[in-house]
């Protein structure tokens, strides 16, 4: 399983892996928003938590179809399915690799983009914390969506249609954590709910995703 993780990371980081694409997308979305709503710092300050979370979510979505598609095309997914490690483990490792190459860079880049949007000072720690505990759920839910649509020819658009409604609770609790942080309120409840979603997703969704993969591989 560790070998699989290393392989996926290497594939993602090296040329043609699309590493950094999500990060660049996150940057562009965040920069576009002030062009859309105007440079007024009062407005930006209020919408910054939501924009940053929606941006992170879309950046995650961008690279989801790569989780299984390439391995499906060249047949290595069939090999992984017949390998001695359980398919659930494969799915979990793929999601971890996706998070390490997409989610983690977003967490680290978020404070810089927060500055661009005049995010209030006390919110920074909660921005990073909420993204750090929320993005694993995004990767795991996304891996489930990718597993559902892996065999389809034009799966990309359908994938976003399936995954985005599933992202609603994560987005609500994530953005709420940052918003409360910005206003200096207690952030415990939404942050714990967010952690709950992440943990439950990581515990249960590998089974659903592996089930979907088995259907697509038969």
């Amino acid at each position: 399983m560790i070998a699989l993780l290393k392989r996926d990371l290497a594939l993602a980081v090296r040329a043609g892996g699309g590493f950094g694409l999500g990060l660049a997308f996150f940057l562009i979305v965040t920069i576009l928003v002030p062009f859309g709503v105007g440079p007024d710092s009062g407005v930006l300050e209020i919408i910054a938590p939501g924009i940053l979370w929606v941006g992170a979510l879309l950046a995650c979505l961008l690279s989801l179809d790569r989780i299984f598609a390439l391995d499906f095309e060249d047949g290595s997914l069939d090999l992984l399915a017949t390998a001695p490690i359980p398919l659930e483990g494969v799915v979990a490792m793929k999601a971890v690799a996706h998070w390490l190459t997409t989610g983690l860079p977003l967490v680290l880049a978020a404070p810089v983009l927060g500055t661009l949007l005049h995010l209030p000072l006390p919110a920074y720690v909660w921005l990073m914390a909420s993204l750090a505990i929320g993005t694993p759920a995004l990767s795991m839910i996304g891996a489930f969506g990718a597993a559902l649509t892996v065999g389809l020819k034009r799966g990309g658009l359908l994938l976003s249609l399936l995954v985005l409604p599933l992202y609603v609770p994560t987005l609500i609790f994530g953005a709420e954590t940052v918003k409360r942080g910005a206003e200096g309120l207690a952030t415990g409840t939404p942050a714990l709910m967010l952690a709950g979603i992440t943990l439950a997703s990581c515990a249960l969704l590998p089974f659903a995703a592996a089930g979907a993969l088995r259907v697509n591989l038969r």
Binding site: F144, L148, T149, G151, L152, R154, G155, L158, L161, L162, L164, P165, L166, V168, P169, I172, F173, E176, T189, P190, M193, I197, L205, A208, G211, A212, V215, N216, R218
Partner: protein, 243 residues
Amino acid sequence: MASIWQYANPRKFMETTDKVLPALTVLAAAVVVVGLVWGFFFTPDDYKQGSTVKIIFIHVPAAIMATGAWFMMLAASLIWLIRRHHVSALAARAAAPVGMTFTLIGLFTGAIWGQPMWGTWWEWDPRLTSFLVLFLFYIGYIALWEAIENPDAAADLTSVLCLVGSVFAFLSRYAVYFWNQGLHQGSSISMDKEEHLADAYSNPLWVCLIGFGLLFVVLVLGRTRTEIRARRIKALEARERMA
């Protein structure tokens, strides 16, 4: 001994629904008409809302059936995953567009009522929002059915989506309460006397509810029959190509 599982046999299902469906259709139409006519013309106007209150006779049954349809799909998906009865998978597929339509009716009648009463067509109220999210789940579910060619794989994948989607739809429903306070009134049908509608309204509402429920059953049975026939035509075509 008779058991519900004998209707999992497509032939038995077709035979039975062939006999039951015409009578059920007439019954559903009659109950809906009686309920709506009673509700629209033989109830008093509300002292605050005037006659706009009467949209409740469409809005509430449609909304209840919209969530009911999803639960029916969930049950049918579970039956498909556990017992592999094709009729069950096709019934889930048949129910999705009906449920989506009920969701849309609920949203639109709500908007029409909300404009004069709340002064807005749309408000990001928890109930309204969770219904919009439910609508998105219906779209995704139907799109997945349409996208996959192999019928068994499509049934499997949509069933898994329905299971996971149910959990997340449920989660969203409570997450939005956390996110915004509500403008929507409490339940119309409630054990709580204070919250429950006055009898003058609730009696025709019950009739409408039963009518919409029957309507849903009729539509789903009819659409399931169509799906079974479409499946049979495909099998015949495949056989012809082989010959």
